[in-house]
């Protein structure tokens, strides 16, 4: 037993607070927008130059001038504004976005994050990921706990980093961890996924952490 992708997204959505400005990465993070709690209003930023991103358009209403960072057609909302890529990353780098939720290949117990390249494979590029993890106030990673039977939560990342000491929280299919970027406190396990035991997580995690259940 463990969380499904949707359950992981729903858990991530609990990190949203009313009035937050949020950037969601590709994959499971995109699903988070389906689980925004009742009474909570957030604005979604798309780093290609849009604040206040709306849902996909109805068929026939796609606009080639209106896409998100995944190059998907989207729509605008009453709160929407557009700006240049320089202004968009000024917003990101400047610490104005409250929360970024993104996927990862590896996260280390000190908050290091790797999600952009695997040596020996063709590298597509980091896009805006390095800017987001370096600039956004709170960075939440949503990922599977293991890949091919190997823990993705590590003592140290062995893949090239996207950012050093940048992750505040990791939500996996098995549970939720908090990381203190400053390094003053160890990584903490704060929550178990449905039907998962603390022992199961301990056995599947390479990183060192303390339990705060």
């Amino acid at each position: 037993m463990a969380w499904t992708r949707e359950e992981m997204a729903a858990r991530a959505a609990k990190e949203l607070k009313d009035g937050f400005y949020v950037n969601l990465g590709i994959g499971i993070p995109t699903l988070v927008s389906n689980f925004i709690p009742e009474g909570i209003s957030v604005a979604l930023q798309s780093e290609n130059g849009m604040m206040g991103m709306g849902p996909f358009p109805y068929e026939g209403e796609e606009d080639p001038d209106l896409i998100n960072a995944g190059k998907q057609t989207v729509t605008e909302l009453p709160i929407t504004s557009y700006f240049s890529s320089a202004d968009s990353f000024a917003m990101i780098r400047g610490g104005h976005i409250d929360l970024s939720i993104l996927g990862a290949m590896q996260v280390a117990q000190n908050g290091d994050l790797a999600n952009w390249m695997i040596p020996g494979k063709m590298v597509k590029g980091m896009g805006g990921a390095m800017d987001l993890v370096a600039g956004v106030k709170k960075v939440v990673v949503v990922m599977e706990h293991e890949a091919k039977g190997e823990s993705k939560l590590l003592k140290r990342c062995n893949l090239p980093l996207t950012g050093a000491g940048v992750v505040d929280m990791v939500i996996t299919d098995l549970g939720v961890f908090e990381i203190d970027r400053s390094g003053k406190n160890p990584m903490k396990l704060i929550e178990l996924a449905t039907g998962v035991t603390a022992e199961e997580i301990r056995s599947k995690t390479d990183a060192e952490y303390v339990s705060a259940l």
């Binding site: 890529s85 590029g125 980091m126």
Partner: protein
């Protein structure tokens, strides 16, 4: 077109690029994916046969479209980009060692272009510190700053090109530009950071017809304008939702 500034208006992409193109030049190309790209200008560059190009562009087009065309003809020597995922020819040429590639984080790329246009030779950013992007770059701390103390920053330099290719929604004959929705992206900064800026526009109006508070790029940055009402506008990932019955 009787205004003094109508000298900036050229009849087609070929004439707008005449006298500018040369082998081994540096070109900035606006756009994010295929959104807001100046495709008619890229077509004219392809036809010109100019080669050895260094192209600064967030993406590298897709196969057979936009910069993908210049990759097919091997006119590009080097790309400076943040993401090149949608291009098979790119991957082939890169893996064969025929194409140089410099990855920049997307925000660093945008800011390097903005800096070049703004007379700023270099700036510091936390983006990329502690990663391969930071290797070999100057590192600095700002312990006296109430905002920036406690982290390390790397120095990134301003970019400048011989030619910028810009796509705008609307221009007046003075070269004042307005962009539309997310087609704005890299176009405004690139317009400021090149010796010559050539703009492909969907709508061309007389000077004075755009509200001066709503101009995104002042005409000072624009050297040549081509009115291209039929320039292709493509959708890379068409995503829709069902209508409620």
């Amino acid at each position: 077109m009787g205004s003094p500034s109508s000298r900036k208006v050229y009849k087609d992409a070929k004439s707008a690029l005449a006298g500018i193109l040369k082998d081994d030049m540096v070109i900035m190309a606006g756009g994010f994916g295929l959104c807001g790209v100046a495709e008619t200008l890229v077509d004219a560059i392809k036809e010109s046969g100019v080669k050895g190009l260094t192209v600064i562009s967030n993406n590298a087009g897709v196969d057979g479209i936009h910069l993908g065309k210049l990759l097919e003809t091997r006119q590009i020597k080097k790309m400076i980009s943040s993401y090149v995922g949608e291009n098979k020819i790119f991957a082939q040429q890169y893996l064969a060692g025929e194409l140089e590639l410099e990855f920049n984080p997307q925000g660093t790329l945008a800011e390097r272009i903005r800096a070049g246009g703004a007379g700023i030779p270099a700036f510091y950013t936390a983006t990329g510190y502690g990663t391969v992007i930071g290797e070999g770059k100057d590192v600095k701390e700002f312990p006296d700053s109430p905002r920036f103390a406690g982290r390390k920053y790397i120095m990134e330099t301003g970019l400048w090109a011989d030619l910028a290719l810009v796509h705008a929604w609307k221009a007046d004959t003075e070269g004042n530009l307005v962009y539309r929705k997310t087609a704005r992206n890299f176009n405004p900064m690139m317009a400021t950071a090149a010796t010559t800026t050539v703009v492909e526009v969907e709508h061309l109006v007389e000077a004075g017809e755009i509200e001066p508070d709503q101009i995104h790029t002042p005409g000072i940055y624009v050297n040549r304008i081509v009115h291209s009402p039929d320039a292709p506008k493509r959708i890379e990932n068409r995503t829709t939702r069902p209508r409620n019955a």
